[in-house]
Structures are given as structure tokens and as C-alpha cells.
Symmetry: C2
Subunit: 190 residues, 2 copies
């Protein structure tokens, strides 16, 4: 998606070790119109998969996922919680994944109320890097006997192998922007 | 806002001790169209305040805040982070507040990059209860020498005193839905 690529090149910072800082429009400050445009693009890409729910993870996946849900004609958007709120009292689906940008292992929790057998789930997240957060979401979909129909991300970093790791799920994988090289301070888009 | 009130009455659960569970459209699953309508309403209410940025807090404030930013003609939306990501390396504004639904004290961090002297800040959050999270955001605005222009929430619980606690900030406070009584299992809207 051209608009997104331009913003990554203009504002993205390569912090080394594959860490891309795009805090000015996605991960701390949000450009809602840009995210709505990304959401519309993902919605077009996956229109044929007819999801019944969008699934994402706290925190930075929320806005793109909500924009996709909105663009698809108001599909419910469910976000896996990393910290159990007091309102989450019943048993939950829980999986863990190492966090790339926090340096720890995070839990991802989804209430069975919001992911059910027969649901058609489109996963939307901000980054596809190693794919381990998304893989944890896929395992939740599987545990719930729901059907995974696709995986969409705002930014993919191909050199971290996430796409290859997720191909076992057998669904289309789409990224609105793809970064192929971040070595030596570079940010090279596909 | 009538649509929101209807949803609270239809789907809200009173868990006791003033805890309202509205996980089906705001706090775990999101109804993006409803949130867009709430965002548009808040945008109309605060159009005259001409904010330069919207400020919210992780996690559940993000969607309403993004919808307000979008409805106001793409005002940047900044979310205070509760957990420091690896991309947040510079000094940050930090305040703490007790969490109502987590039972602990949370930190709220905003990078000086995204809240600057002279900024006109509209705070948007999901709940106004005791007002302590929002008060922490107000203190961040103050520390940054930015100007607070208003406080908007999706749901206010009047019986927890937040509005009174926040009046010292001297700005308009608005809630899209107002709950006046949750005693004895009731959910009474204004």
C-alpha cells in the first residue's frame, strides 16, 4: 500500500536488531485516517473469506483490526487480552508468545464467549516478524474449533521468517507493507 | 447517546462493586460501527475546542479515541503506554494511577515527542469512574505545558465521584452514556 510505504520511509526509524520504530502513526501516536485506509485495503483483500469475527492482540493490533472490522461492514473485532481484567471471570483460551518489543513472554487470553465453534476468523495484527504472536492467536482459533480464514498485518518483516512459520496454517497471509532488509541501518521495502 | 444506552441495557452486566461488564462491544469484543458513532458524537460535542491532539490510555480507550480523531478530520491520537516497549528509549512523561479493573497501580507513559508545549489536548477514555486514570493523563498534559481543552468518556458512573474530582481542571467533561445507580444489581442510566 503506497501511502503506508511512504510513511514508513519518511518517519520509520531503524533501531537495529530488526526493530522498526513507527511510533508516529501506529505504535504510540495513531494516524486514524491512515489506519482506516489500511483497514479498507485489508478488507478488500479478504472480502472473499467472509469472516464472522476479526481477532487481534493487545495493544497495537487494536486500531488496524477495528478499522478492518468497520470496513467489512461491522464484523465484530475481538482482542486477546494480555492482562486479565476483573470482568474476565470465566475460563478463557490462553496461549503464550515471546514479545519482540518487550523482551518477555506474554499471555494472550480470549473469552470463549467471543470465539466460538464455527466462527470464521480473520487475524489482524500490526507486525508480522517471527510470527509467534500470530501463531498463538492461531492456536486459540484452533482450540475454539473455529476456522481460520486469513492472516493480515500492517507491516511484515520478511527477514524474520514469520510467513514461513505460519504457512502450516494453510491460509492466505497479507501485509500492507513489506520490509525485506533492515541490515546496516537500512529500511528497504518490497 | 441513545444507541449506546440501549446496548448497555441489553448487554451490560452488573458484577457488583460498581463493575460494569460491557465486554461484548467495548472491552474485549469491539463493535466498530458503534464506536465510530460514539466517536462522531464526541467529535461534535468538542468541535469548538479545536484540539491538536487526542490523548488516551491503553487499552480500552484506544478505539473510542481513534474514532474521535478520525471524526474530527484526522487529529493525531496519542495513547499513554502502560508497559515500556523497546522502541521507547528517550525520557518520557510518567504518572501513576490505581486501576479499577486490575486491582493494581499502573504507570502511564507518554513520549515528549507526541505531547508538546502549546498542544491543545482532548482526553478520551472508555470509563469515567473515580477519575484517577484521567487525572493522571491531565497531569501529563500539565507537565508537557500543553493545554487541556476537554475530557470525553464513553461511559460515566456518576456514583464514583470522578466528575467532581476532575472539575479542578476547569474543562468541559462529557460522557456518551451516564450510569447513575448500580446498587442492588441495577443498571440505571441518566
Amino acid at each position: 500500500m503506497e501511502l503506508l510505504k511512504q510513511r514508513i520511509l519518511a518517519e520509520g526509524k531503524n533501531l537495529g536488531r530488526g526493530i522498526l520504530k513507527i511510533d508516529s502513526f501506529l505504535n504510540h501516536q495513531i494516524d486514524a485516517a491512515l489506519m482506516a485506509a489500511v483497514g479498507a485495503e485489508i478488507a478488500r483483500e479478504f472480502a472473499g473469506t467472509r469472516p464472522s469475527r476479526i481477532l487481534t492482540a493487545e495493544v497495537s493490533g487494536l486500531i488496524p483490526a477495528a478499522m478492518v472490522g468497520h470496513a467489512m461492514g461491522n464484523i465484530p473485532v475481538v482482542y486477546a487480552r494480555k492482562h486479565k481484567p476483573i470482568t474476565m471471570m470465566e475460563p478463557v483460551f490462553i496461549e503464550t508468545a515471546p514479545s519482540h518489543t518487550k523482551g518477555n513472554v506474554v499471555s494472550l487470553m480470549v473469552s470463549p464467549e467471543f470465539i466460538q465453534a464455527g466462527d470464521r476468523i480473520l487475524i489482524v495484527d500490526d507486525f508480522l516478524a517471527t510470527g509467534r504472536t500470530i501463531d498463538a492467536l492461531c492456536r486459540i482459533v484452533q482450540s475454539a474449533d473455529a476456522e481460520l480464514v486469513g492472516i493480515a498485518t500492517v507491516v511484515e518483516k520478511t527477514f524474520e521468517g514469520g510467513r514461513a512459520a505460519l504457512t502450516t496454517w494453510g491460509v492466505p497471509i497479507y501485509a500492507a507493507a513489506t520490509i525485506v532488509d533492515m541490515s546496516e541501518g537500512k529500511i528497504v521495502l518490497a
